[in-house]
């Protein structure tokens, strides 16, 4: 395939200990961790009462999405969006399965509608007043790479700019005995067809992507969304190219122009 292109107009990032992209770039380039990092994302898009009730997947996704839009200087309501998550909200799945095993008629309706894989996408469009298309995908360890391909395909077809968000939560409960994911992690990119920011060109090919060895990949490598971290390491350190896992035996080769 010929490569798909975009400019990266804005970046959002949140992981335990590194609550924003500035902190992440400082850590990636100097090794210094921010002093008082928030323990939990608090996205301004949600009203305070919603912020208290929202599951961690929604909090982290909305936090990084809004940060990326702010850096890009683009109104969230204008952007079609792609939300990629390996497992969705593991805590909610654990709640659903536990309740169904014990007292199915007591299932919470709110937790049920929050259990859909597109919950973060739904809260994002509601909070942002965005009527553009939003999608939610999973491709296991290739989730972020496939989300990036979808976002780039939207740009290639008819979108001027697209929001891409990758996130996963910590595994918990019985589900955590078979599904392993540590901490909370989110990363977002606002990708534009033309404009400012690093240039990105991506193409799929055969081959394995090596596990990340950069500072961010090592810092948050236990999270299920860790396969996206080599890209964020490359963006933080100015590396010219990176390969992302894109499914069994396949990788997404990403060239970056930082000039």
């Amino acid at each position: 395939m010929s490569p798909l292109h975009a400019h990266i107009a804005g970046i959002g990032f949140w992981s335990d200990g590194l609550p924003d992209w500035t902190g992440a770039t400082v850590y990636a380039t100097t090794g210094a961790l921010p002093e008082a990092a928030a323990a939990r994302p608090a996205p301004q898009l949600l009203a305070p009462n919603e912020r208290r009730r929202a599951p961690p997947s929604v909090l982290v996704a909305l936090e990084v999405a809004l940060a990326a839009c702010r850096e890009a200087g683009i109104e969230p309501a204008q952007l079609p969006s792609v939300f990629a998550s390996t497992h969705g909200d593991i805590g909610i799945t654990d709640y659903m399965c536990t309740t169904l095993a014990q007292a199915p008629r007591e299932l919470s309706p709110t937790r049920f509608h929050n259990s859909v894989h597109n919950a973060a996408a739904g809260y994002w469009t509601i909070g942002a007043g965005c009527t553009r298309t939003a999608t939610a995908i999973s491709a296991h360890r290739g989730s972020f790479a496939q989300g990036l391909v979808e976002a780039l395909a939207q740009l290639a077809c008819d979108a001027e700019a697209v929001l891409l968000v990758g996130y996963d939560t910590a595994s918990t409960g019985l589900l955590g005995t078979v599904t392993h994911s540590r901490g909370l992690l989110g990363g977002a990119l606002v990708l534009t067809r033309a404009g400012h920011g690093p240039r990105l060109a991506a193409r799929l090919e055969d081959g394995e992507a090596l596990p990340g060895t950069g500072p961010l990949a090592l810092h948050a490598g236990g999270n299920a969304m860790a396969p996206m971290l080599p890209l964020f390491d490359a963006l933080a350190t100015g590396a010219p190219a990176v390969a992302l896992h894109a499914g069994p035996g396949r990788r997404l080769c990403v060239d970056l122009g930082h000039g």
């Binding site: 010929s2 798909l4 309501a77 079609p80 390996t86 497992h87 969705g88 799945t93 659903m96 399965c97 169904l100 095993a101 199915p104 008629r105 299932l107 919470s108 309706p109 049920f112 509608h113 929050n114 259990s115 859909v116 894989h117 597109n118 919950a119 996408a121 739904g122 809260y123 469009t125 509601i126 942002a128 965005c130 009527t131 553009r132 298309t133 939003a134 999608t135 939610a136 995908i137 999973s138 491709a139 296991h140 290739g142 989730s143 496939q146 391909v149 979808e150 395909a153 290639a156 077809c157 019985l174 589900l175 005995t177 078979v178 599904t179 799929l204 055969d206 499914g247 069994p248 396949r250």
Partner: protein, 402 residues
């Protein structure tokens, strides 16, 4: 947008396996709903259950993905020449130039539910899944995509789309983009969702489940009937001549968000209207060119009233629009593919389904809503699929040269 060719398509639902069973049941108005007999503690409702899944084990080589949802995926994949159509595409383009974009709402969460219900103490005394369910891949949403990736040997992008009840409509849009952007030349799209505790008790908790067979657009409708289904379509860039196929095409897609509420539709049907207008615009079509519209039509009081208003604001009174959920139940993440298949059957055969179980027209719904079947050739067919999170998708299908 440039049209995308549909080389093969199929659905397996409570009506039976494959296209002939669907067409026959639609034509004879024979529904597939039964009293709920699913699970240990069935709620008093009606369901669209696919017969025979309990006896349809996966081939041993695919045993790692064993679960009800992947069984239904495998069963649905064996119908209507899908495998042969895929083989043609692989020979023509190569397996790495064919995407696999598949929709589901709950994937194989039924296996996770079973793991919790059958949990047992492990050697160290902590609770664990029974040994037969300690297979991580069936406890994650991409279970379906990963299973089909291994079952088909396709090597292009493999994505599970999970936007609740719009999932397997949106797969057409994503696959069309991958083809138009030059990432692939063809795609296997579709969707599979199976009955499970999460959706039966979840929709019950929201007060959206009827105790009777659902009655879409009936004045006295009081909720939905849940169902399970699987279906697929083989899409290809519309360049190569494929002698023998019916010349069916994806002409347009439209996607939108309500930006209103997680589980209630926008009161004015804003997202529904945007999706339908967007789909018609991409198809370069006017509303009066559409001969059949398969509605989302869940049979909840809110959805049907709002969707009917959005339809009557956009389409002339001559449109034949219906919900087929009285036949199959609401198959959630599979509704997009099942009802796209029904729209394609309307194009291919001229069979326009009406609505099953409904008898009292809702005076708030327009003349487009048809209870009776009709038979005539049409130019374009559409399908609406709307999901939680206010996630909407409309599709326009047509015939080559028409």
């Amino acid at each position: 947008m440039p049209a995308i060719a549909i080389r093969a398509f199929s659905a397996t639902t409570a009506l039976g396996r494959g296209l002939a069973a669907q067409a026959e049941a639609l034509a004879h108005r024979r529904g597939g709903l039964r009293r709920n007999d699913f699970g240990a503690d069935p709620l008093p409702t009606w369901i669209g259950r696919v017969d025979g899944l309990e006896d349809a084990a996966l081939p041993p080589s695919l045993g790692q993905w064993e679960c009800r949802n992947n069984r239904l995926a495998w069963l649905a994949l064996q119908q209507d020449g899908l495998a042969d159509a895929l083989a043609v595409q692989i020979a023509r383009h190569g397996a790495d130039r064919i995407a696999l974009v598949i929709g589901t709402s709950t994937s194989s969460i039924g296996a996770s539910e079973e793991g919790y219900a059958r949990a047992e103490p492990a050697a160290d005394g902590t609770m664990a899944f029974p040994e037969d369910l300690r297979r991580p891949i069936v406890h994650t949403p991409h279970s379906l995509g990963d299973f089909l990736h291994n079952a088909t040997g396709l090597r292009g992008p493999c994505i599970t789309v999970a936007t609740a009840c719009s999932s397997s409509a949106k797969v057409f849009a994503q696959a069309a983009r991958l083809i138009h952007a030059g990432v692939v030349d063809a795609a296997l799209v579709g969707g599979v969702d199976t009955l499970c505790g999460s959706v039966l008790f979840g929709f019950n908790a929201l007060g959206l489940v009827s105790s009777e067979p659902c009655r879409p657009f009936d004045a006295d409708r009081d909720g939905l009937s849940l169902g399970e289904a699987g279906g697929f379509a083989v899409l290809e860039r519309d360049e190569a001549d494929d002698a023998g196929d019916a010349g069916l095409q994806l002409r347009g897609y439209g996607e939108s968000s309500d930006a209103h509420h997680m589980s209630a539709p926008h009161p004015e049907g804003l997202g529904a209207s945007l999706a339908m207008r967007d789909a018609l615009a991409r198809a370069g079509a006017q509303p009066d060119e559409v001969g059949y519209l398969n509605l989302h039509g869940t049979s909840t009081p809110a959805n049907d009233a709002i969707e009917a208003r959005a339809v009557s604001a956009l389409f002339p009174a001559s449109l034949h629009a219906s919900s087929t959920k009285g036949w199959t139940g609401h198959t959630l993440g599979a509704a997009g593919i099942v009802e796209s298949v029904f729209a394609l059957l309307a194009l291919r055969d001229g069979l326009l389904p009406g609505i099953l179980n409904s008898s009292s027209p809702d005076p708030d719904c327009g003349p487009q809503i048809r209870f009776d079947n009709a038979r005539r050739d049409i130019g374009l067919a559409m399908n609406n699929s709307f999901g939680f999170g206010g996630n909407n998708c409309s599709l326009v299908f047509g015939r080559a040269g028409a």
